[in-house]
Symmetry: C2
Subunit: 373 residues, 2 copies
């Protein structure tokens, strides 16, 4: 429960670690005394800028599902704790996307106000800052991202009108205690997109596929030393398979494999021709090729796996465990070809951490609204 008072043990544990890892912050004892007093008096405490930044980096380092953790120290942390109104939040989210997406993509997190004991807090309903709408058609099919149908219904209920096309960026749904729900369209300058072409197949461009450059998860709660930040959107760069082997490939997302196989004129009469696998590889080649051509940073699953192996070695040298979730770390295609496949990992819930609350997951699917209808 993000609105519960801070657990003093968790605060102390975090601060000790934070100050041990950063000797330049000085001795932790005086800081602990202050924090204990703050927590006793108010149920919470206020992180210094350094604590906030290092805490966010630790949370990334502790993300068991993330293969991209080698560069955890490089996370750019934007302290947005003062923002209160939906307008303020919106303009800072636009700034986030812009600073993340300029030139080479850089890992950025914007940290908004923490939850206060017993108080309601601001949040964004969208699971990522940029996501494409999904429209149910009369024929029972979907135009766009089927995963976003729920949220698309919600925003349409609030009067939003999409173009009804496959790649309409959804508006941001920002909820603040004072203003309730407000919808905001992202300006074009905040949305970098890459149209997909294939290095060999000319027809690929005719499919009209595209994807956005910056994956920015916006509905996970960041917990640092017992303080909960319910609005702390973060982004890295994409690993190609997230788009090519999941978003555009999954049967309950864009489901492009049968279409691509048809254009490739593959024998789809039986599974053993591996037509699915062949179409999958070409889709992923197209994704990597297109981002490369557009000069948008993206990594492939082989490179990112090697980096993760380096991360494991680094962390071992630093005497720290690296919690990891095999089923998320191993890429969704050619798993056995990557070094991350051939070993097991420790599973542990270390903090600071990012959590997806059930309610937040429901909101991103448009569920609470549907329930009250």
């Amino acid at each position: 429960d993000p609105s519960a008072p801070v657990d003093p043990g968790e605060a102390e544990d975090f601060l000790r670690r934070c100050y041990t890892e950063n000797p330049r912050l000085g001795p932790v004892e005086p800081r602990l005394a202050i924090v204990r007093a703050q927590v006793a008096a108010t149920g919470s405490y206020v992180h210094t800028t350094d604590e906030l930044a290092h805490g966010a980096r630790m949370a990334w380092r502790n993300s068991s599902r993330c293969i991209g953790r080698l560069y955890w120290r490089s996370l750019m942390v934007l302290d947005r704790r003062r923002a209160r109104t939906a307008d303020e939040i919106y303009s800072l989210l636009v700034q986030h996307l812009q600073s993340a997406g300029e030139a080479a993509i850089r890992p950025v997190i914007s940290i908004f106000a923490p939850a206060q004991p017993g108080q309601p807090f601001a949040r964004v309903w969208n699971e990522q800052l940029i996501r494409y709408a999904g429209y149910r058609t009369e024929a029972g099919k979907t135009v766009g991202d089927a995963r976003q149908q729920g949220l698309t219904d919600v925003v349409r209920g609030f009067g939003w009108q999409g173009k009804g096309e496959a790649f309409d960026v959804l508006p941001l749904v920002i909820e603040t205690p004072a203003e309730g729900l407000r919808l905001y369209e992202l300006p074009e300058r905040a949305i970098r997109e890459v149209p997909l072409t294939h290095p060999e197949y000319g027809w690929f461009a005719e499919l009209g596929l595209r994807w956005h450059a910056v994956p920015a998860i916006s509905n996970m709660r960041l917990t640092i030393g017992g303080v909960h930040y319910p609005l702390a959107p973060f982004n890295g760069w994409y690993m190609g398979t997230e788009i090519g082997a999941r978003n555009l490939a999954d049967a309950d997302r864009y489901d492009m494999i049968p279409t691509i196989a048809a254009r490739m004129e593959l024998d789809t009469s039986r599974e053993s021709t591996l037509w699915r696998d062949r179409a999958l590889v070409e889709l992923n080649r197209a994704v990597l090729h297109s981002f490369e051509q557009a000069g948008v940073k993206m990594s492939d699953h082989h490179t990112e796996s090697q980096r993760f192996m380096a991360h494991l070695r680094n962390e071992e040298k630093a005497g720290r465990p690296t919690p990891a979730d095999w089923s998320w770390i191993v890429p969704p295609m050619s798993g056995g070809l990557t070094p991350v496949f051939h070993r097991y990992y420790e599973e542990m819930d270390l903090r600071p951490a990012f959590y997806l609350d059930d309610e937040a997951a429901d909101r991103a699917q448009g569920c609470p609204v549907k329930r009250t209808h």
Copy 2:
């Protein structure tokens, strides 16, 4: 410990389940009385043929790592508990391979004598009945299956001379309490093999790749109702990826991906061309194509995943949990394309079961011998 006395609780638990699942076996109570008396007197008890057969099928059904469990009822159980000498065991293993490999491949298990409390027992060192030797060369490379280098060293120490080629079938290493270690060459009639060709690439045949038709694991212990069968080799048919995405692809096995990519003239200058993934798909097409051409039963990972989903539904209908290990169930290529990827499973250690003892794993690597050198 396979030589420990039978746990009466485990015996009772198994028998109750076995008789409940097979009403035609009659009431379990009289049988329980007999078994309790046998265990009290001798530390063990003797399974009836029906108990043995159903126990083995339950062990398959409980194999969390096995995607092929839909047909668990069809397991053909060969009761080989009377065999004692290495010669007898050998000729029954040859029979096993023959009955498994004739025409369509069928799932078979041969169950040899159980371990008796405090007594040594017979076993086979090889991890599978058919495996290819691996020879270290002076250049520090390997000819053959690098995973079998340890066992290859052992059998060469016993005077076995392989041809030094990439696909030399290893002799069986049979250990009995009375005779110690004995080596047996498998006769040709027991070894069905498929030379690999590609549906389109003529040059593929020139690689000289082949694989055997029957995967028969021979070093796992079968435990039924507290009785341990240390020698109970079993086989199914191959799923193509076991050969195409692991045995022939893994860098520490046959490592064929770079060779195939070179023959395909792929751009291997950077990972993002996905040359590994492309070579992998073609290798796997070759495997499936060649087995199909040779009339040897094999399944692809899409079909086997669909079957496993059917198995999950069947078991749920039967009111039984299906323990499963995600990282083993999801195929090593195109994971995200298979329905088994998109859910979680219960992990449980249900019995009857197959276990790989550490000692058995070591022996298959030739370790105990190396240690005494």
